[in-house]
Symmetry: C2
Subunit: 292 residues, 2 copies
């Protein structure tokens, strides 16, 4: 079996042994944004064509490849949804001699009726979360996700615009002039931003405070970007905790980003643990076991 | 007497009659960002040289012209500060035969010790606020100000990054793709954003909700920018009210922007009134009366 996690900016391919272990792993930056509308079959062939020729006749894909901008749209599946639901909603795509299927993303509504979406994260979540009691899973990123999971099913989730807000605030506002975004992570600045997020006044007020502190030489160029990061992550974590979480929070993400969220959760006194790597691979394997 | 409100992006000049009424008024887009370091005397001469030649020998300036990037730096004056304080801290600038002076901005600390700054707004505030009991003055903008004023003195103030956050979110993020920023103000969308701001979940979560709603055709291109505006202004007003205000809130600003803040304050049930135009002119005149 071949599993593909095909996102906006990258593609990860996994070749599974019969026992579900990852036998081989390939990475390419050919995310869906780099692929022309008719270029998906050729891209897949280029990445895993030899595995298919070698006898792998099942390919399961998750991520933005199933979006309207991807290869074939797989409509969002409403929560609660688990392995059976995802497997049952997989969309088949004719492809050479193999059985290629693309998984849907998930959707839910927050308690005020506003919609939520994820695509790809659901597979990571179900790959990382153990069956059993309710738990909270956090996936930091451009659009960070906080999901409630129980017995192999995603009950619901909440998205925060944190990573994208950081990107534009640090590069396109007056704050950009006071920060060196190429500076290494500054733990003191990050902690300062987290502490600020816990004070009243609101995020929009806190953002201006960075600028004013720099004017009075109370914020240095090498710490400012980390302080902004801590401020935004702190506001995200505070909002997520207000929503309610079931600790320990399971963190899924690149090490450097997960470490920042771990530091934030420490400040808020919330237990957490880091998921093992390749959650998407394990999720793809688990869903494949439930395919009809 | 000549009063000059010289900001980042524009210059407004007022010629006062002996009784303090504005006898003539000039506007030019030659804000300090358009003026080279040695170009300030020439710019002032081009705008009001004929008034000076006509016998006006006193020029009082406020705004970013007194910043480090302006003509001559007038260091921030700590709050509380009023007409006497501003007048006493005016910095003289040699200029042809006239007495030219530039006023400082104000600074304070919020209750957590984080610095605040304003430059130009203090003159508008003292021009618009009546002496007497404590009141709250709000100046919407790129960096919105909420000031507490009493007996002709600014006690303290808070800044929110609202206007600048709107500018970058609406033009440099994934939200930009779903909104027509050239569409006229959409009152329904604006109210929707305000209502959303009053719900829990945090600003970063609310921002992603705009994106998700558009994906499900629950947010149209012509209302999305107004909804984002309502969302940000709603978060600002909520934070300001949590800080505490003394109603009626006095709004100083361009009509279209003041109207949005008036609508927001209505939603929150807070009385407000709109300041008369040319608050800066009245402030310059009032400070001039206190010059040594």
């Amino acid at each position: 079996m071949i599993g593909i996690d095909w996102g906006t900016s990258s593609l990860r391919a996994y070749r599974f042994a019969r026992d579900g272990k990852v036998a081989a792993h390939r990475y390419t930056p050919r995310g869906i944004l780099t692929v022309p509308p008719d270029g998906f079959p050729g891209t897949l062939r280029a990445v895993v064509g030899d595995w298919i020729a070698d006898g792998e006749d099942r390919v399961l894909m998750c991520g933005m490849v199933g979006s309207r901008q991807g290869w074939r749209e797989a409509p969002y599946l409403p929560c609660p949804a688990g392995l059976d639901g995802l497997a049952g909603a997989a969309i088949p795509i004719p492809f050479d001699g193999a059985t290629v299927q693309v998984l849907p993303g998930l959707t839910c509504r927050d308690r005020h009726g506003v919609p939520e979406v994820m695509r790809g994260e659901e597979t990571q979540i179900l790959g990382a979360a153990r069956d059993g009691a309710e738990m909270t899973v956090c996936l930091p990123g451009s659009h960070s996700k906080w999901a409630r999971v129980k017995d192999g099913s995603v009950l619901g989730f909440t998205t925060h615009f944190t990573g994208e807000a950081f990107a534009v605030l640090s590069s396109h506002t007056i704050l950009a002039r006071m920060m060196d975004t190429a500076a290494p992570h500054h733990a003191g600045g990050f902690a300062r931003g987290l502490a600020r997020a816990r004070q009243g006044g609101g995020l929009l007020h806190h953002l201006f405070g960075l600028r004013a502190a720099a004017l009075f030489d109370e914020m240095q160029e090498d710490e400012a970007a980390s302080t902004l990061s801590g401020l935004l992550i702190g506001h995200e974590v505070a909002a997520a905790l207000e929503d309610g979480v079931a600790p320990p929070v399971l963190l899924i993400g690149a090490d450097h980003l997960a470490a920042r969220y771990a530091a934030a959760l420490d400040i808020f006194g919330v237990p957490h643990r880091l998921a093992e790597p390749d959650a998407a691979a394990r999720g793809l394997w688990r869903v494949a076991e439930h395919l009809p």
